[in-house]
C-alpha cells in the first residue's frame, strides 16, 4: 500500500529482490483439536477463519484484536510453527512451514511468551542463540539495545516480566532480520519501557525492516502501524491505514439534556451535520462526520438558551471507537 513513501521505486526494477510483497496470506484457516486429541473437548475449534492480507517490504503491519481474536494463531502460521488447516502463506516468497530452512535466517521472531530456561542468564541465553543465528550481532550490543546490560548476569527466573520481554526482543533482533514478527511485544511492560520499545520498533521500520506486530493496545497500533487489520473471531473485520479505518467511523457528541428540554428543541440536526442520534433517558448521543460544525452549532444553541450541558463529551473518531463499533457490530450480526 504505502510502501512507495519510504522506498522510492520500492519493489521496482532496480532491486534484486523483486517480491512485491514480503508476506502474502490468502484464505488462511487454522483449526485446533481437529486431530482428535483429548486436549480440546470442542472438536475442531476454528481460531482463524479465512483471512487475506499482504505486507509490503519495509512496512509495519499490525494485527489488532482482543484476546482470543486469533492474532497469535495467525502469526504462528506466518512464523512457520504450524501448518495452516487451509489457505496459503508466503513469507519472502516461500512457504514458512514446509520451507522453514530458507526463511529462518532472514526472519526474527518474538513469541507472545518467551521460552527461556529459567536457570540461564541473559548473556548465556543470547550466546546460545547467537551460535544458532546467521550473522549474529555482538551480544553486548544486543543487550544494550534493549537496555538489559545491567541485568545481563542475573538468572532469567529473577527477571521481571518486562525484562523478559526485552530479552525476547533482543533474541528476535540478533540476526538483523529482514522480517520481524512481534507477538504482543509490550504486554507486561511499564509505560516507559513501552515507549522505549516503540522507539526501537520505529527505528527498525525506518531502516527498512518489515514488521508484523500483534497487539491489543489500540494506542500501539495507532502509534506504529503503517497499516493494520482488526481481527475479530478469527476474521478480519476492518483493514487499511489507520486513518482509513478511523474515517469510516463517525465522531460522537454526548450530553445530558436539561429538564424541560426535548430533542425537538435542538436546532434541526441535519443542519448541524448530524447523521444519527440515540437517547437513553436524558442522555443524548449524536453521530457526525463533521465534528467541529456539529459541536459549534450545539454550543451556540446552548449559549443562546443559557443552558449548561452536563456531561458534555465531544469525541473525534478514534481507532478505539472504530474498534468498539466493529466488535459490537459483529456481535449483533
Amino acid at each position: 500500500m504505502n510502501i512507495g513513501e519510504k522506498d522510492i521505486g520500492g519493489p521496482g526494477p532496480s532491486g534484486a529482490d523483486t517480491d512485491a510483497n514480503v508476506i502474502d496470506v490468502t484464505g488462511l484457516r487454522r483449526s485446533y483439536g481437529a486431530t482428535g486429541r483429548r486436549a480440546h473437548a470442542r472438536k475442531g475449534f476454528e481460531a482463524v477463519r479465512g483471512i487475506d492480507f499482504s505486507v509490503g517490504r519495509g512496512e509495519l503491519f499490525a494485527l489488532l484484536g482482543t484476546n482470543g481474536a486469533g492474532k497469535t494463531s495467525t502469526v504462528e502460521l506466518l512464523e512457520g510453527l504450524a501448518a495452516p488447516t487451509a489457505g496459503k502463506v508466503r513469507v519472502l516468497g516461500h512457504d514458512p512451514y514446509t520451507e522453514r530452512r530458507k526463511i529462518r535466517p532472514r526472519i526474527g521472531v518474538m513469541l507472545q511468551e518467551g521460552g527461556f530456561p529459567s536457570e540461564l542468564t541473559p548473556t548465556e541465553t543470547l550466546r546460545m542463540w547467537a551460535g544458532c543465528t546467521t550473522g549474529a550481532r555482538p551480544i553486548d550490543e544486543a543487550l544494550s539495545s534493549v537496555g538489559l546490560t545491567r541485568r545481563k548476569d542475573v538468572r532469567v527466573k529473577q527477571l521481571s516480566g518486562g525484562e523478559r520481554r526485552r530479552l525476547d526482543l533482543a533474541l528476535a533482533l540478533l540476526g538483523r532480520p529482514e522480517v520481524l514478527f512481534l507477538d504482543e511485544p509490550t504486554t507486561g511492560l511499564d509505560t516507559e519501557a513501552r515507549h522505549e520499545t516503540w522507539e526501537l520498533v520505529r527505528d527498525l521500520r525506518d531502516s527498512g525492516t518489515t514488521i508484523v506486530l500483534t497487539t491489543h493496545y489500540l494506542e500501539e497500533a495507532e502509534e506504529l502501524a503503517d497499516r493494520l487489520a482488526i481481527l475479530h473471531n478469527g476474521q478480519i473485520a476492518a483493514a487499511g491505514q489507520v486513518t482509513d479505518v478511523v474515517a469510516t467511523h463517525p465522531s460522537h457528541i454526548a450530553f445530558d439534556l436539561p429538564n424541560g428540554y426535548h430533542l425537538g428543541d435542538l436546532p434541526p440536526l441535519e443542519s448541524l451535520g448530524v447523521i444519527g442520534h440515540e437517547t437513553t433517558g436524558r442522555r443524548v448521543r449524536l453521530r457526525t462526520d463533521e465534528l467541529q460544525r456539529a459541536a459549534t452549532g450545539l454550543l451556540i444553541w446552548a449559549q443562546d438558551k443559557g443552558i449548561e450541558l452536563h456531561g458534555l463529551d465531544v469525541r473525534s473518531a478514534s481507532l478505539e471507537e472504530a474498534f468498539l463499533e466493529i466488535a459490537k457490530g459483529l456481535e449483533n450480526a
Partner: protein, 272 residues
C-alpha cells in the same frame, strides 16, 4: 537505542554471513544445556552418585549368587550393571525430565523459531547428558576394573558397541517418554516402566545367564538387553558373530521404534 547497526541491507548480510553450520548450532545448544545440567544439583548428584551407590548396595547380593558354570565373576556382574545404571539414571531419567522442562518452559517452541532443525534441537539437548554419561562409563570401566578385579575389557569393541547402542536407545526413549508427562514431576513416573523393566529384565540386577533359558530368551528381547549383553561381553568375550549381529539388530530395532514414537508423538509445546 540506535538501530543503524541493527538492520543491515541485504547486500551486507549476504557478504558477511555464511549460514550457521549444524555443528556450530549443536555446540551452542549443547553448551547451554551443559550449563543447565551443572546448575541442576539434584539431577547432577543423582547421575554421579546413584550408579556407584547401587553397585555398592548390590555387592553383597551378587557375592552370594551361584555363578558357577556361567563364566561370570562378581566383577563382571556388577561392573556392567553399573554402566547400565548410568544409562538408566544419569541419561534416560534426567534427559526425559530435561525434555519435559524445556517443553513446559516453551524453550522448545522458541528454539523452533530459529535456525535449528528439529533433530538438532533434540540432539543438542541430549548432548551433554550423553557425553557426560559416556565419560562416566569410561571412568567406571577403569576404576571399577581395579576395584572389582575385572581388569580392563578384553573385547573393548563389544563394550563400545554396547554403550553406543544403549545410548541411542535411552536417548530416543527419553524423547519418546517426555510425551507422556505433563510436568517434570510426572516425568519421574513416565520413566518408571522402562526403568523397572530394564533393571529386572535386562540383566542389570540379575544377569540373564543365571536365569532359566526360556525366561532368558524372552528377556533378551527387551530394549536394553542387547546393550547390557554387549557391554558384559566386553569382559567375558561372549557371543559369536551371529549372536552379536542378533544383539545389534535387537538394539537398533528398539532405537528405531523409539525414533518412530518420537516422530509420531513428541510434543514441542505444552498442551493448550
Amino acid at each position: 537505542m540506535s538501530t543503524n547497526t541493527i538492520a543491515a541491507t541485504t547486500a551486507e548480510r549476504a557478504e558477511a554471513n555464511a549460514e550457521t553450520g549444524s555443528m556450530a548450532r549443536l555446540t551452542a545448544l549443547g553448551r547451554a544445556e551443559l550449563t543447565l545440567l551443572c546448575r541442576n544439583k539434584t539431577a547432577l548428584s543423582m547421575s554421579l552418585v546413584l550408579p556407584v551407590a547401587l553397585a555398592f548396595a548390590m555387592k553383597q547380593t551378587v557375592s552370594g549368587m551361584d555363578l558357577g558354570g556361567t563364566g561370570l565373576s562378581v566383577g563382571t556382574v556388577l561392573l556392567p550393571a553399573t554402566l547400565g545404571y548410568v544409562l538408566i539414571f544419569a541419561v534416560y531419567s534426567n534427559l526425559t525430565s530435561a525434555y519435559v522442562a524445556r517443553r513446559e518452559e516453551l524453550v522448545l517452541k522458541r528454539l523452533r523459531t530459529g535456525e535449528l532443525r528439529d533433530l538438532e534441537i533434540l540432539a543438542g539437548t541430549a548432548l551433554p547428558s550423553a557425553v557426560m554419561g559416556l565419560a562416566q562409563c569410561a571412568l567406571l570401566v577403569i576404576v571399577g576394573g581395579l576395584a572389582l578385579d575385572t581388569g580392563l575389557p578384553t573385547s573393548p569393541h563389544l563394550l563400545i558397541a554396547g554403550l553406543v547402542i544403549g545410548m541411542l536407545v535411552v536417548v530416543a526413549f527419553a524423547a519418546a517418554s517426555s510425551a507422556l508427562a505433563k510436568s517434570v514431576e510426572a516425568a519421574q513416573l513416565a520413566v518408571l516402566p522402562l526403568m523397572v523393566l530394564s533393571l529386572i529384565g535386562s540383566g542389570m540386577v540379575v544377569p540373564l545367564d543365571v536365569l532359566p533359558d526360556r525366561v532368558a530368551s524372552v528377556l533378551e528381547l527387551l530394549p536394553l538387553s542387547s546393550a547390557m549383553e554387549l557391554i558384559r561381553a566386553g569382559w567375558t568375550g561372549g557371543p559369536d558373530p551371529a549372536a552379536t549381529t542378533k544383539l545389534l539388530i535387537n538394539g537398533f530395532v528398539w532405537a528405531g521404534l523409539a525414533v518412530f514414537a518420537v516422530q509420531r508423538w513428541f510434543r514441542w509445546e505444552p498442551r493448550r
